[in-house]
Symmetry: C2
Subunit: 366 residues, 2 copies
């Protein structure tokens, strides 16, 4: 069933006249058209019965057609009032809109006020949960793109490991990775690539810079690529030169925590049980205070989407969900370590998409 058809069924079942979708990722999800419109109006209007349309800046209309959108594409020029154009496209269909579902976590107050002017007697229920629920469960086609994105991320880690050498800066390694990814056909990186070394690994949100790699450093890579609109997200931490006892202990603790959570993944398990399982391993090893973030996040068209894998999320896992598992220990006196994989909930368990080995990799420091 197409995404448009699924939303039409939702509208019919809930007696809502139309859905207006403006989050760029959701527009891509339902239409196949990817675009970042900035302040310009981009949206898909789906009706209970009438033909849907996509509204976008005029110069993008040819791209919409090329993307495979099978319905009308309505363009607005910079000199138009885009809302007048939208209003006409609705009027042309001769439908009365009493209830228009919107994405309340994305639509701005200003835009809702415009819609309230145009559709004066309409109510505006939430569409957010419906779209999240649809996107939460990946189709086989989506999984194939995620597999490919993960494969590219694995390769990026391989490239990064090969680039590590005494005296090279984090930024030099980062640029080499990104250059190789572009050559391999990755559309873009899924987020700002992270290459952190030595004490900087202890900052979960550090920024790569001019620090030079030294013997005894741990080097942490956190990166992902976008492949046909779908993201990957992997973290690996490797040693440059022989690690200390304490560094090893932290590494093995994180590795065990990550594997423990992965082994638990199957339909029916609650998200919070995964977080707890990984956290327990780290806490028992005495590093609980240094694991300062949630276990993971959903992954798909967005690099952070539903489900959120936190210690309080009661949601039960369902086949087709995709998320990261990424425990970390950030001890500023010893080192930071994070290990992250992308996983799919399968009928009976788990498929791990990212496959770069997790045995502690020690790169020889000559």
């Amino acid at each position: 069933m197409t995404k448009v058809k699924a939303i039409q069924e939702y509208l019919q079942k809930n007696d809502v006249d139309a859905a207006f979708i403006t989050t760029p990722d959701n527009v891509f999800y339902v239409s196949g058209f990817a675009s970042e419109p900035h302040e310009r109006l981009l949206g898909v209007m789906i009706f209970k019965e009438a033909e849907p349309f996509l509204i976008c800046p005029l110069m993008e209309v040819p791209d919409v057609k090329a993307s495979g959108w099978a319905f009308e594409a309505v363009g607005h020029a910079d000199t138009d009032d885009a809302w007048d154009i939208l209003s006409s496209a609705v009027a042309k269909r001769g439908v009365e809109l009493e209830k228009i579902a919107i994405e309340k976590s994305h639509l701005t107050v200003e835009r809702l006020e415009r819609m309230e002017q145009i559709f004066q007697s309409a109510q505006f229920p939430r569409l957010d949960e419906q779209l999240n629920n649809m996107r939460n469960i990946k189709s086989e086609d989506e999984l194939n793109k995620l597999r490919k994105a993960a494969e590219l991320a694995d390769y990026a880690i391989e490239v990064g490991c090969k680039e590590i050498a005494e005296g090279k800066t984090e930024l030099e390694i980062l640029m080499a990775i990104e250059f190789e990814m572009k050559k391999k056909g990755a559309e873009k990186m899924a987020f700002d690539t992270m290459v952190l070394s030595g004490p900087k690994t202890a900052s979960p949100h550090g920024t790569p810079g001019d620090r030079k790699i030294q013997k005894g450093d741990f080097v942490l890579f956190d990166l992902g690529v976008v492949y046909e609109g779908y993201c990957s997200d992997i973290t690996r931490t490797v040693a440059f030169g022989e690690p200390s006892e304490k560094q090893r202990e932290i590494y093995e603790t994180v590795k065990k925590a990550e594997q423990t959570a992965i082994d638990l993944v199957r339909p029916g398990v609650k998200a919070k049980e995964l977080d707890k399982a990984a956290r327990d391993v780290i806490t028992e090893a005495g590093y609980g205070e240094y694991f300062t973030h949630r276990l993971g996040h959903g992954l798909g068209i967005s690099v952070h989407e539903f489900p959120s894998i936190t210690g309080t999320n009661e949601m039960e896992l369902v086949e087709g969900m995709v998320f990261t598992i990424e425990p970390g220990i950030y001890n500023p006196d010893i080192t930071g370590v994070r290990i992250e994989d992308d996983v799919v909930v399968t009928a009976n368990g788990v498929e791990v998409l990212t496959r770069f080995p997790k045995e502690l990799k020690i790169i020889e420091a000559k």
Copy 2:
């Protein structure tokens, strides 16, 4: 006067009890704290009289202090309801909020609904125009950052020109530019760097790729960097090997159009007069149909901000405004050319921030 003080004066004058600012660029503008909170709550609450506070994810509180924010920084953990934390921080101040100004072009419907629950009798007027008006006029401190960002952009063009060689791909040139920028201390590029060659120059929104530079190509660079939170944005088009008559004609037309608009800049002139002046030059040369976008856009913390330099904007220029001037001709049968500078409106005229020469540069093709 500090930004916080200026907003307090605005609140007093307009009898508004508080302003809640959540657009990340505006949060940076008023507080000096730069952050991309994604779905998490980040905001600055400024009161008519009570002490302002900044609310942010808990782990960013130390960064807020380090950024120089002189008032309270209220953190919320992932397990908190951020709005409860906000509500308590307001209650602590013992102020009654009847009117809270918000950024309607940014705040989501969901967030407004939460605020309506917390502040049940409050009204929510617009704050957008006030912030835009403040940001529209740059201080000397802001101009110094913009000058530095422009200087780095000039250097990036120089790097790009040196990288051009037969058989090199657009992406290879692009990566060399970005690598050099990071080495020079640019925080990041202001937007996706554009390096387009040959027929691809005729697409105003083209994507750099594997196309190899050939003799007879025009090569178009459109790029910018962020320096201490402020953006630059420059475009230069250069020739690889001797250009044809027609290529030269298009280049000189764009160059004349751009200079004509720059020469007009001074306080009191309307934005639309600049667009018209440049467009007239291009139309008179017979290329009017190939200049398909507005003349320019405001520049500052955002790479696209106010003012917009369009054919319909009646706004008069004021000293301290900063914007781009970037006419182009995109003729798919000959070539595309765009030339773009960043300019400041001064007391008596104009200061051009970007300074890379605009005489047609011909790079020898051996």
